[in-house]
Subunit: 386 residues, 2 copies
């Protein structure tokens, strides 16, 4: 059985390690330190930097194929590995579209995939003319960002001027996008293997607060079968046309008029797929490994047909000791599935998530309520904290 | 979060390690070598012998509580750890009943738990008088065994004489048990925490071939609700009366007359509970950890109410390379859940298991057929191998 290496030691690598146990594949991580989430639960993690070609190359030498926990490995590092004959999945040609948002928009548009209107901008004047007088406008760093930010919503020329000036200072290129007054956000996940097999998960609804995913409902309640099919088809088409290997998550807007627009792409296991760990026959982490190993893909359906699964992200509160509260949550709801990432608790940091799996007889409102109460208690010590 | 250590590096420790990832607890193993099943998937396994007090003590010093992958740690080692203040779960007083079958029978009988008729024997004459002319008779080593065997079925005085003579040579004490012409074998699993909380899993049917568990059907098809309740009550009573902490598996005979007799006990995760990994809200491995950590126990019900899960053990065949066959099985049945133990393949060795999870609309016969076809192909390269 080939050895799979994942670059990055975060929670996605941690949960992929967990999936690798049953699959029987040897799984290794390249982590920044021994205390990183995935390094805590894997044998002999290699410590090094994903930014340094020599570190990634040394890691790849121990593996038959490498994949990624994040999209921050520089394109030139990826290309250099590929030139040296390393199996990199997904490859640099696909990953480019997660690192260059303008290239992604141009590519998707060329494929006829519906996207928000967009244009590169470099001055407040560019933003004003892009707006055509209709505000707000979304500004995005084309690659990376600065001060931990990469997306700004501006509502006037002066606001735009502030962002464009700062971006210029940081040598960051910007693009503008139409602000979409969406009805809700959806995500469509699909896996694709090098052999070209594709498998789409049920389309989910995602609930964001302050730009952070807080809750996922799988499948998206009340989604019309036509729209669900269109979203899945989009994910499979994008995976195929962009040459993705592994998991692809397509974040979507369901517009006020009932259409779909692609928001973002991620080519790895994704927060919108954490529900699959308990709610689907094949978890997204196992599916990613199967794709990366070019194994036949697993059934992406629901564990319990007709039921829903609700995932809620657990963010850190102010009390660093979660253990006493954990006991309370387990006692209050013996069916809550808590997944901790082994991370030090910092306010607002994603430190885990919970899944509540329901059968056809459970109401979505009740499942959401249980998920919210669990994460609220874990974070704040009260069920009414969020 | 306390650190849990498991003595033993086999597949049970491997799957417990997998469950520990989500629970967020730090999990360590004491393994015999770095190539053992659990050592392959845990950070910094400690290498040592479970027979050597110093090794187990050094391991316990790194942990807040220790538990076990098997019942082979000598009683005197356990007692010495307990005297030194180590939290040992289950404790020596409970584990004694898995190491001394005569003590187990005497204890269960004193509790009114139905067991096969039994008596200690030391000669063929003892066996003959035990039989009362009714053969066969089951002979068991009271502790351990020899040449890898601990159970013999004898049908005459000369056969009994052979076993008693060999046992005497190996200084092994024997007991006789009535041969039970059972209708089928069942297993009841329960967890018990130090706080005294108990939780019983649905009672399952187990199918043994040549003394090896080959298949488990959960819940046991067609089991009367009364008998199911009696089996669960037995497991909870035994766990409580014997002071078990963690998982208890009670292997049972369903007799021709529709009653229950206790066959064997195990105080750890057990082969009869592997179905819970995919079929229950709480896997037996997570449940064992919760009990050992004195956390509230998880819901032991079915993931999909009304459905069945079939587990089939995967034994090694003659071809050491299972990978090509694995690909075929995945392609043939994308919903089969294969769990590999990372063990070298040897003929007849347990190297993994498969679970097939069904919903209420799936027939048990179909689920069993899918499980059998998967393990047959993995073992023999044909779906008709067993």
């Amino acid at each position: 059985m080939p050895i799979v290496g994942m670059v990055g030691g975060g929670q996605l690598a941690r949960m992929t390690a967990q999936a690798a146990v049953g699959l029987g594949s040897t799984f290794k991580v390249l982590a920044g330190s021994l205390s990183e989430s995935a390094a805590l639960v894997t044998r002999d993690p290699l410590i090094g930097s994903h930014l340094v070609t020599a570190d990634v190359k040394a890691f790849a030498d121990e593996c038959d194929v490498i994949t990624f926990d994040h999209e921050h490995v520089p394109g030139e590092v990826l290309v250099s590995l590929e030139s040296a004959g390393v199996l990199v999945r997904p490859g640099s040609a696909a990953l480019r579209y997660t690192q260059d948002k303008l290239a992604m928009r141009e590519k998707l548009s060329s494929l006829g995939v519906p996207c928000p209107r967009f244009a590169p901008v470099s001055s407040a004047g560019d933003v004003v003319s892009f707006s055509g007088g209709s505000w707000p406008v979304v500004l995005k760093a084309i690659s990376g960002g600065y001060d931990g930010k990469g997306v700004w919503v501006v509502s006037s020329e002066p606001e735009a001027a502030t962002v464009t000036a700062e971006a210029e200072q940081h040598e960051v290129s910007l693009m503008a996008e139409e602000f979409v007054p969406f009805r809700r956000e959806l995500a469509a996940q699909a896996a694709r293997s090098p052999s070209g097999q594709g498998a789409a998960y049920p389309v989910v609804e995602t609930v964001q607060v302050d730009g952070i995913c807080r809750e996922v409902i799988a499948p998206a309640p009340g989604l019309s079968p036509d729209l669900a099919e269109e979203a899945s088809r989009l994910a499979l088409t994008i995976a195929s046309e962009l040459g993705v290997v592994g998991l692809l998550a397509v974040e979507l807007f369901e517009t006020a008029s009932g259409g779909l627009l692609v928001n973002e792409l991620a080519m790895r296991p994704h927060n919108s797929g954490h529900w699959t760990m308990d709610g689907s026959l094949t978890s997204q982490f196992e599916q990613h490994l199967r794709a990366v190993l070019d194994l036949p893909l697993g059934a992406p359906g629901l564990n319990c047909p007709g039921g829903h699964t609700v995932m809620a992200n657990l963010l850190g509160g102010t009390d660093p000791d979660v253990y006493d509260r954990y006991i309370h949550v387990m006692a209050a709801d013996p069916a809550v599935k808590v997944h901790f990432y082994g991370k030090e608790i910092r306010p607002g940091r994603k430190i885990g998530h919970v899944n509540i799996v329901g059968s056809a007889s459970d109401s979505v409102a009740d499942l959401r309520d249980r998920a919210r109460r669990a994460v609220s208690y874990l974070r704040w010590g009260t069920e009414d904290g969020e």
